[in-house]
């Protein structure tokens, strides 16, 4: 098989690079005298590992400190504070998360990774957030890139990439526990222990259990959406030499999430179980050259009232970056992924082909050129990807970065990205009452002729630090979409008062999305820090030849709020108290479904009072959505939306 040979070549290359590096020993800087040190020429960190401020893309980084002080207990709730991301909670265990429009429970234009492992499902190209109830205390940062990231990360990174990066084992030594008890978080506890074996091997193991209560149904009573999750795992980092790091990590999870299925209101339970093992070896040849090889295996089982899915994914990625000439940094890489599934549909959902393996092979090359040192740089590159559905895909990008001085950064880019067809686009068979027309039943069948969805994005950004404590970040985008998915009626039959429609997927929508995002930070004084964000997003779609899916068009145009903002304050009080609030506001969202109501513009306020009793002991009281219970999202295709209640919890965090 071609793919197997590809893997062999990769491993071979890796061994060659490893072998050639063995002879290169860097001088021990620490042993040098001051006089010698002063004669050394240095590269600034921006060239090897760049700061977010110098990236030619719309980037937001959620730091560990922001995670701690947010009071949020899930990844999607943390993402609310990123302008340009649309986050709405559907029920107690389900969220709709997207970037720059198209928000839905089954959003499919966003790529999410945890430590380099992709967590979007090849089933429908979206994320099942209840499977990823991570231990938030061990997350180092969350990097969010809005806009296409296809050149580096490949298909699915159409409107954004989220990288969740956990701390290394060296940063999580000792024993730590955190427990939360509250109205919705009935109990949420996690423990971690980090230790060392000799000088060069550090490890940690962790376990987490969370029991979350039901929300309230907007029809009254219990929403039947409670959520229990167990998660455990570990990570080992081996500093093999001063410049080589080997990381092995893995997790296991089991989550039970109650699910009320719209529109009929059938109650059931979704069970998600799975685990993963990842190994990564990285080597730094010099300050300008490094290489990494990563392999992972991921197993995932979903047993729900509508589907039973078993999935095994194997992925290998290789990346090498070096400096062929001064002022020129080349990064290239190759990867291969095989995902094997066994699927059976239930309750009106069927799948063609009970078992299938999908293969994706890819190669990318990106060059960053310092056109004028410390002033103008150009980054161009492309990803080349072969998949089983739409064949060969090219995802190029060109980016310009201008840094006149420390206080101003300007960037602009043009890039193309695709959302390749998912298993469900080709093989699904859904029988359901129409969500938009009364007395109508639909039979939607996947299509092998459904092709990749495309975007060509034009972006611009400006970051500035007008005063030392103030940073402002502006981004503007115009997305030119083509071949978006539409569900077209092929034939329809009247049976007395009832109509049966036969439908399938086509690529008959096109259009533009445009908008802007603003983020601001202001460290007013030592004890007061303000932050804020605002975004505006608008999508206008039109039919291509023979296209007529007004539902998909209207959903894209009206179901994502056009405006949203948030304002956060972090206050350090005397005696080691902290008081933090975040106010969120999102615009109204229309809905074109018969059985759902419009979501009005609404505000949400999260508050936290923390007290660092001792260096290693922190207690806090948190209120989430304290203003009023409210619905944040309309009914999804299979899910009845709940009212998000006010929730309160107390938490104790103990280190060592």
């Amino acid at each position: 098989m071609v793919q197997t040979r590809g893997v062999q070549v990769l491993v071979g290359l890796a061994i060659v690079f490893w072998a050639t590096s063995a002879g290169a020993v860097e001088e021990d800087l620490v042993a040098m005298d001051l006089e010698d040190l002063m004669e050394l020429e240095v590269t600034t960190a921006t060239k090897s590992a760049r700061r977010a401020a110098d990236t030619p893309a719309a980037v937001t980084v959620i730091t560990h400190e922001e995670i701690r002080r947010s009071g949020a207990t899930s990844i999607p709730d943390l993402l609310r504070r990123v302008p340009g991301l649309n986050v709405a909670q559907i029920d107690a265990n389900r969220w709709a998360v997207s970037a720059r429009g198209f928000n839905d429970e089954y959003s499919n234009k966003l790529l999410v990774m945890v430590d380099g492992r992709s967590i979007y499902t090849p089933l429908f190209s979206g994320i099942v957030w209840a499977e990823h109830d991570l231990m938030l205390e061990d997350i180092d940062r969350i990097e969010v890139v809005r806009g296409p990231g296809g050149t580096l990360w490949g298909a699915n990174a159409v409107n954004g990439v989220i990288n969740i990066i956990t701390k290394t084992s060296t940063e999580t030594q000792g024993l730590a526990t955190v427990s939360r008890v509250g109205t919705h978080e009935r109990f949420n506890g996690a423990s971690r222990f980090g230790g060392a074996i000799g000088d060069n091997v550090h490890y940690r193991v962790y376990g987490k259990f969370a029991d979350r209560a039901d929300y309230e149904s907007r029809l009254g009573g219990d929403a039947h959406d409670d959520w229990q999750s167990v998660r455990a795992g570990g990570r080992l980092d081996w500093q093999a030499t001063e410049d080589s790091l080997v990381t092995v990590q893995g997790d296991f999870y089991d989550a039970d999430a109650e699910h009320t299925i719209a529109p009929v209101g059938i109650e059931g339970e979704d069970e998600y179980t799975g685990g993963n093992v990842l190994a990564r070896a990285s080597h730094q040849f010099s300050d300008t050259s490094d290489m990494s090889l990563q392999l992972y295996y991921d197993r995932n089982v979903r047993d729900t009232p509508i589907i039973e899915e078993h999935r095994d994914t194997f992925d290998v990625d290789f990346q090498h970056s070096f400096q062929p000439f001064e002022g020129n940094r080349l990064v290239w890489g190759a990867g291969f992924r095989a995902s094997t599934d066994r699927i059976s549909g239930r309750l009106g959902l069927g799948f063609r082909g009970r078992a299938q393996t999908d293969n994706v092979g890819s190669f990318f090359l990106q060059d960053e050129i310092q056109v004028i040192e410390d002033l103008l740089s150009l980054t161009i590159g492309s990803k080349f990807e072969q998949n089983d559905y739409s064949g060969f895909e090219v995802q190029p990008s060109a980016r310009v970065l201008v840094t006149p001085n420390d206080r101003h950064t300007l960037w602009a880019s043009v890039s193309r990205a695709v959302r390749t067809p998912a298993r469900s686009d080709e093989d699904v068979a859904i029988f359901q009452p129409s969500t938009t027309a009364p007395n109508t039943f639909q039979q939607i069948v996947g299509s092998s002729r459904f092709d990749a969805e495309e975007v060509i994005a034009y972006e611009m950004g400006y970051r500035t630090r007008p005063l030392d404590p103030v940073t402002l970040d502006f981004a503007f985008f115009i997305n030119d979409y083509d071949d978006l998915r539409s569900v077209e009626t092929v034939s329809s039959f009247p049976f007395g008062p009832i109509t049966l429609q036969n439908q399938t997927f086509f690529n008959r929508l096109r259009g533009v999305g445009y908008g802007s995002e603003i983020a601001a930070q202001w460290a007013v004084t030592d004890f007061l820090n303000l932050s804020g964000g605002y975004h505006f997003t608008r999508t206008d779609l039109s039919f291509k030849s023979r296209g007529a899916d007004a539902n998909a068009r209207d959903a894209a145009e009206t179901e994502t709020p056009r405006h949203a903002f948030h304002i956060g304050t972090r206050i350090n009080l005397p005696w080691d108290f902290e008081f933090d609030t975040t106010l969120f506001w999102v615009d109204r969202q229309a809905t074109n479904r018969t059985n759902s109501n419009q979501i009005d513009a609404h505000a949400r306020l999260d508050m936290r009072l923390g007290w660092r009793v001792r260096e290693n002991l922190e207690v806090s009281l948190v209120g989430l959505n304290v203003i009023e219970p409210q619905q944040e999202f309309a009914d999804s295709v299979f899910t009845r939306a709940s009212d998000v209640p006010r929730s309160f919890y107390g938490s104790v965090r103990w280190l060592y």
């Binding site: 800087l29 620490v30 040098m32 005298d33 001051l34 040190l37 002063m38 004669e39 050394l40 020429e41 240095v42 590269t43 600034t44 960190a45 090897s48 590992a49 760049r50 700061r51 730091t63 560990h64 400190e65 940062r141 060296t170 940063e171 000088d199 300050d287 300008t288 400096q323 062929p324 000439f325 001064e326 002022g327 020129n328 060059d367 050129i369 056109v371 150009l378 161009i380 739409s390 064949g391 060969f392 090219v394 190029p396 060109a398 043009v414 193309r416 695709v418 092709d451 990749a452 495309e454 060509i456 030392d468 404590p469 071949d483 460290a523 030592d526 350090n572 080691d576 660092r612 260096e615």
Partner: protein
Amino acid sequence: MTKLSTPLHRRLTLAFAAMLGLCSFAPESRAEYDEYKVKAAFLLNFAKLVTWPGDTPAGGKLVIGLLGDTEGTAVLTRALEGASLGGTPVEVRHLTSIDGSADCRIVFLARDGVVTPESLLAATRGGRVLTVSEMPGFASQGGMINFFPDGRKLRFEINPGAAEREGLKISSRLLALARVVEEGR
């Protein structure tokens, strides 16, 4: 589905051509070191050439606090972890706020630090802490040592008055290599 719109395609081709042109004019590369690996080495040298009152550090460790969550402080951590100075092991502490900064022997405030120089200096006053930064003007605002770039090389300035106030003695060798500054300049 691999069609590219022609203008974009043409633009990319032009960009590639421009890139090839630029590459051929690029000068040869020289040996360069990561800025923060070098700064780590500087920090250890500072510790060697500064005398604290009371001599041996409490707990038998040389505690270096890092303020700021940047790529630079990550490199510093890696470079300093496991290091020792004349038998005294170095302990690196990541400080998320000025709390705990007075318990360190040396505090390094990164360029994108979480606090302002003024608040760091207020928090360490009387704690006999060697304050080091890379923020322009740090030493003239009352900090002790500040890195600044000189072309591709690293230099540092020292405010001896600030060190004296905390009872720290800076060796003449260190002073000789530094640019000496006074407050308010």
